[in-house]
Point group: D2
Chain length 184, copies 4
């Protein structure tokens, strides 16, 4: 099985990138082939219908779609901005959705988030589910939002809290079980 994992933050040491790396390591431990993508590989300008007509969908979005086509499932790790999805990530989704056949359709996805706040990034993930499900992605119902992320990780990038670590294990295992079943 192959899985694309991306932390949707441009800052190298961001909590969301750290969580993406942890998820990637957990997947590799479970014999999954992981494509750990950097968000900076998919930079695109703001959506502009005029640009689309003149120049087509930009390179960054095409590249994301190709990486998505090459895997069985994807894991997005996204911060929450203003109680919703980051505009920059939604903009990438908007561009990708313009390709035909529509790249998200039928793909299985899992959403994670890390946030320094007490309340985590759960609202951002719910806002991100809507366009992805609208595009036909099959989003796993369980999502993990790591709260107080500034204290959540050990120096070697694992989750310090045992319950939270267990919850992440359970969620990833449940997701892989579903994707395996569908692949067979």
């Amino acid at each position: 099985m192959r899985v694309l994992v991306m932390g949707a933050s441009l800052r190298p040491g961001s909590f969301n990138v750290t969580l993406a790396e942890l998820a990637a390591a957990m997947l590799r431990d479970r014999a999954v082939e992981v494509d750990l993508a950097r968000y900076a590989e998919f930079l695109v300008p703001g959506y502009d219908a005029g640009v689309e007509v003149a120049d087509g969908v930009p390179e960054g979005a095409r590249r994301f779609a190709e990486r998505l086509q090459a895997v069985d499932a994807f894991v997005l790790v996204s911060p929450e901005y203003n109680a919703s999805v980051p505009g920059t990530l939604k903009n990438l989704v908007d561009w990708v959705s313009r390709l035909k056949p529509q790249p998200f359709w039928g793909h299985h996805g899992l959403l994670l988030s890390a946030s320094p706040r007490l309340t985590g990034g759960n609202r951002g993930l719910w806002a991100l589910r809507v366009p992805l499900e609208h595009l036909g992605a099959r989003m796993f119902p369980e999502m993990v939002s790591v709260a107080q992320a500034d204290e959540a990780f050990t120096v070697d990038g694992r989750l310090a809290d045992e319950n939270q670590a267990k919850r992440l294990v359970r969620t990833i295992d449940g997701f892989l079980e579903l994707v395996s079943a569908v692949r067979r």
Copy 2:
């Protein structure tokens, strides 16, 4: 495969019950064993923690949970009330969620809606996804909302518009394919 189908309306001839019956017929045509439930079988009072402590979860919610446990997947057909989920259906979900093990967890679900409005019942379905996914149900991303339902059905309960009929076929087939794969 066994599927529970319920139109969440108490009115016998309601558009949502009509659509539930159509979905049930389509499932039976695909060799699925259908439990076509009537909403009236699951009447419960408004959630009240005091009642729960004194008398436990009411009979209607227990019955719904049993029917859910006996199937591989469920189809809910729900009207939209005030741009959201009907309070009465959410209240049934609230009661059912109090049972242990939590009955929705891991169950595959599909949401449909019928509405006399031009805009259909899509917002109600999105509002209904949230608690169901929160409870761990694996909701199918595609949903069908039949708009202008007062003109949408033929006298024998099929969809008059060919494109809409095709969309319903495609959605139900996609859902069954997923549930079959997971069952194997």
Copy 3:
């Protein structure tokens, strides 16, 4: 100025009722005439179009509408059930919305929540905004969700945490300022 305040829980000592009583006390301190309503005064059966045709809108919903008509603004204090609005409260809103003229239209409202969870009841409040705004209520943008409510209140029903107490003061003062301006 007159304000209706209701904690949407039937349990007398519930955190949401405690928070409603605190809000009511704060409003009285600001020379507002408060109608502190008990949720049990507005018990209604699950919405049923057949019942509506036969018997009209039930007494509990009519009573709520009358109380709403008699005030300049309302404060609802609601728990969160399954990441969304309690079905029982949404059901009351559904019944109230059947009255003509529609009772919520143009009324200013404020939403508060108390929850034993770390994450508070914020998602429930966002889900409650949608039908109320759909019905034309003018919901105040700021909302206060008291997290870890089992430790949040002092024995005399005030908020133990100074920052949280200040936030509630600021929100209520902002709300009253808006309602006063509109009344003039």
Copy 4:
């Protein structure tokens, strides 16, 4: 009274720009001073915390914030992308929200949408409300979403359908009434 009006589309003849121009004309008829902004004046790159630290908030977002500070209220006319807010508009909001004092706080806003779809752009507007209300903007509950926008406008940019035209008049008048009351 001064109101900022912006259609969040870069295409000059887009339905949303047409609707923004109609709203601007209606406001001027009501003796409101209108700042009709073009979306292209506020182009910003995707949010990047590194860029923010190095170079601060980009010019486009600062300019939007200044225009917002100079008015009593704002009207945003936004398309719906993938059942949600356009990523590019959310990204502008994300950048603007980084300025201190936070520019949206306490500002009154109205949301409109135009869409060629039968179902209009209502879901996009609801998704846009969340971050704006989170940022403390006081969003007017009524919103107008012009469906089937390719046939909705007359050649001189008015709404062809009388009921829809009346609804827009009622919504704008209600909004102005509220903003006037609060200004006094």
